[in-house]
Symmetry: D2
Subunit: 254 residues, 4 copies
């Protein structure tokens, strides 16, 4: 039976500042990536988010990012591999304590923002992040962009990895994301987007931006709950997948 | 056989800023309390400190503090019990990941600065801190001021606790620290200070500032390595204890 | 002719986080208190907020707070008078640069949150804040709670001060705010609230919670723009005042 | 008469953390670049540093850096020109308030660390920094690397600029610093270093790393006070210059 994980970046509120409709997206997804207090989130938000996700029975992962709250982890920062490794341990560990307190295991780790983007193309950084995940707990699933350096480096050291697919993005013939600067970057038709997901899940292949059939594995899809429109699209995607007999399950779950 | 733990607050450097002669104090103590990045320390410092302590074979504990780097956790802050609980989980978990990466267990938790001071006298805050420790791992030893609310609350929920003794401070008839505002707060004679430690270890009792014999348990003593003078005093203390047949061992160790 | 200033706390967004409907409240008020990056706000938000307020022709003031972004400046922190003085200089100066770049003067300073509350009752802290304001520019207007230590200390050193009136709060016979813990703290009837403002403006007196006529000066009223409901109340208040011939003008303006 | 400015980066302590022998270097230099609380420094340190420098009668400048305390402003960060502009205003303004409180003017601005390095080679970033300086006060002197984009962009908009010379570095035929990765980057002989300074001051020219005579203007030299050895070198440099009749004066002073 075919299966897919729907993941969402949660726990991005901070202090007085609220971001995302976390309580509304949680029932629609199978995995939560919880911000760890460096690019977003704070200890109280982490506690509440982990409890909500635990109550809903979905898988919980860490979503570590650059230590840049003002830039939300989306600004480029140069960290040495050693620094990146240390920031990863710090953030994964912090979240793990909230999981322990909630009586559930931490399941996966997915880097955030520019850390995710850099780790997709920089093998040295990717290796540092993968090593950090393994050093905390070698049963953790490492989530990265499909066909990325992060996934490669994770596999090399024996981690279970999950490849993330972007439903609304076009891919090059080499299986990389078409740059956002290119007008062809985005797929704006929702039905088309959903069809592509199904192909990726069932065939492990999609059509590239040039119409070429390329290998593209989809273990998990990132969905967003920051607006009613976004939530509605998640609902439609989920229904379409389930109608086709595709199970919605966390990565690594049996 | 009599025994005592010598603990020191380590890993208080931050980025470009170095604090403490950590490499020189580590061989002299049995336990390290490692700062967790909120009042002092950063992920790189935490990694290095945990590795150094692990190599030396001493016990490693978390040293969580108020989230106030500029004030070094020494300024009063009002946190609700819920907030304090969440900050504790965050910091203990972060350090735990570095311990996991170093292949050693986290052994104890000792709050820092004003968080320590408030938890000594505020039962509600103390209960929140104790609960956080238990929720992360109920085998962790909770270290608090002798005769404090923190130790009481830890015991109530079944934690192993360790009472910290200050060698250079006078105590009231009630077993509390004489306030620093009182000229009699400090014991300036080193020989006298060392004698008091021995009494506390062997008899569980010392003379109060008024000359009354009071119960005072000493499981662990905090020593400082921030100057050559301080290091010399630690060496003398350690020698004096060992000459008397008192073993220097981490709290909870067999 | 009677007059009053309507002030609002603006520029409280931070990085990816948006707070307040600043563009909608600006046309309704005569003064903006702009957060200075320590409890809320960041340099980009400060630049945008100052430009918006400058374009609208309203008076701009600094809204310095405790250095506690995670607590939004609403948690108690103990700062020594020297520390409070230094944080004030820092924040006022930072905002002043954005005013200089926009070609307009900084007009006033109103402390935020718990810094405001403490300065209302702690003369030593109040004196430190007032001194900071004078040391930056002795033409700045110091805004504080009516009948507060902050206003007193500002006057003592020759600053122009403005007393802030809370339309939705009851006052004791001594002219202090009834504590929020008291069920009688809030005035929930909007018409009553508006009548009280008018009395304060015209008579410099209102009825206390016990029905006693007490002196209460109102130079400025704090209004909120964080929701459509709040904005509607500001509109009604403004209209009611203008219908009564009360001019809406910044403090200190001619 | 020939002249030169000796500048030093001061006020880099933070909270409990002390850095630099500021009180010992101040009597040896003519200008202080004071950290502004984003990469180093805090409001209390800024107040103390400005007071010390004001008492010594040396010129005070702002030393703004990337908002990265953990990396001391030495890690690469990508800021858009708009962001860089805003961070500059914020930091310059903050320091200006401490100067106002000390009754002295702010004289110059010199970016710190990687912000300085990037602004030396990136005209768009350099233009944003120069504009920020002018928008705060167009009489401020902009200090940048000799032959840099920052100096060029400052001149274009009419700022007085000062070119900084590095006594211990070799220069390429194009007047750029030889990269630190090149073994020839550093001049290790102190006498040679001092001779080069004199040449740069008197002739506006030095020998490049290839022995070619190149134009190199030296308005100011950065000296360091972080160790007794460093202080001794500053003393020798200062004496050597004064013996040759070269006056030590702040940039822009008459």
């Amino acid at each position: 039976m075919y299966r897919i994980d729907l993941n969402s970046d949660l726990g991005e509120s901070f202090g007085r500042y609220t971001l995302g409709l976390d309580d509304q997206i949680i029932p629609l997804v199978s995995s939560a990536n919880v911000a760890c207090g460096q690019h977003a989130g704070d200890p109280m938000v982490m506690r509440d988010t982990v409890r909500m996700a635990a109550d809903a029975g979905i898988a919980i992962g860490a979503h570590p990012g650059y230590p840049d709250l003002q830039g939300f982890g989306r600004r480029d920062m140069h960290l040495s591999p050693d620094e990146a490794y240390s920031y990863m341990l710090y953030q994964i560990g912090a979240l793990q304590a909230f999981c322990a307190a909630a009586g559930i295991p931490l399941r996966h780790v997915k880097p955030h923002g520019q850390l995710y983007n850099h780790a997709a193309i920089d093998p040295e950084l990717a290796a540092a992040l993968a090593q950090a995940v393994r050093d905390v707990d070698d049963r953790l699933v490492l989530v990265g962009l499909a066909n990325s350096a992060l996934v490669d480096e994770g596999r090399k050291i024996g981690l279970v990895t999950a490849e993330e697919f972007f439903t609304d993005r076009n891919y090059t013939d080499e299986g990389k994301l078409v740059s956002r600067n290119d007008p062809a970057a985005l797929i704006r038709n929702e039905e088309e987007a959903i069809e592509r997901v199904k192909n990726a899940i069932r065939d492990g292949a999609i059509l590239s931006v040039n119409g070429k059939l390329i290998d593209l594995h989809a273990d998990t899809i990132c969905v967003h709950g920051d607006s009613p429109t976004a939530l509605a699209f998640v609902r439609r995607t989920r229904e379409a997948l389930e109608e086709d007999g595709i199970a919605i399950k966390p990565v690594g779950a049996r």
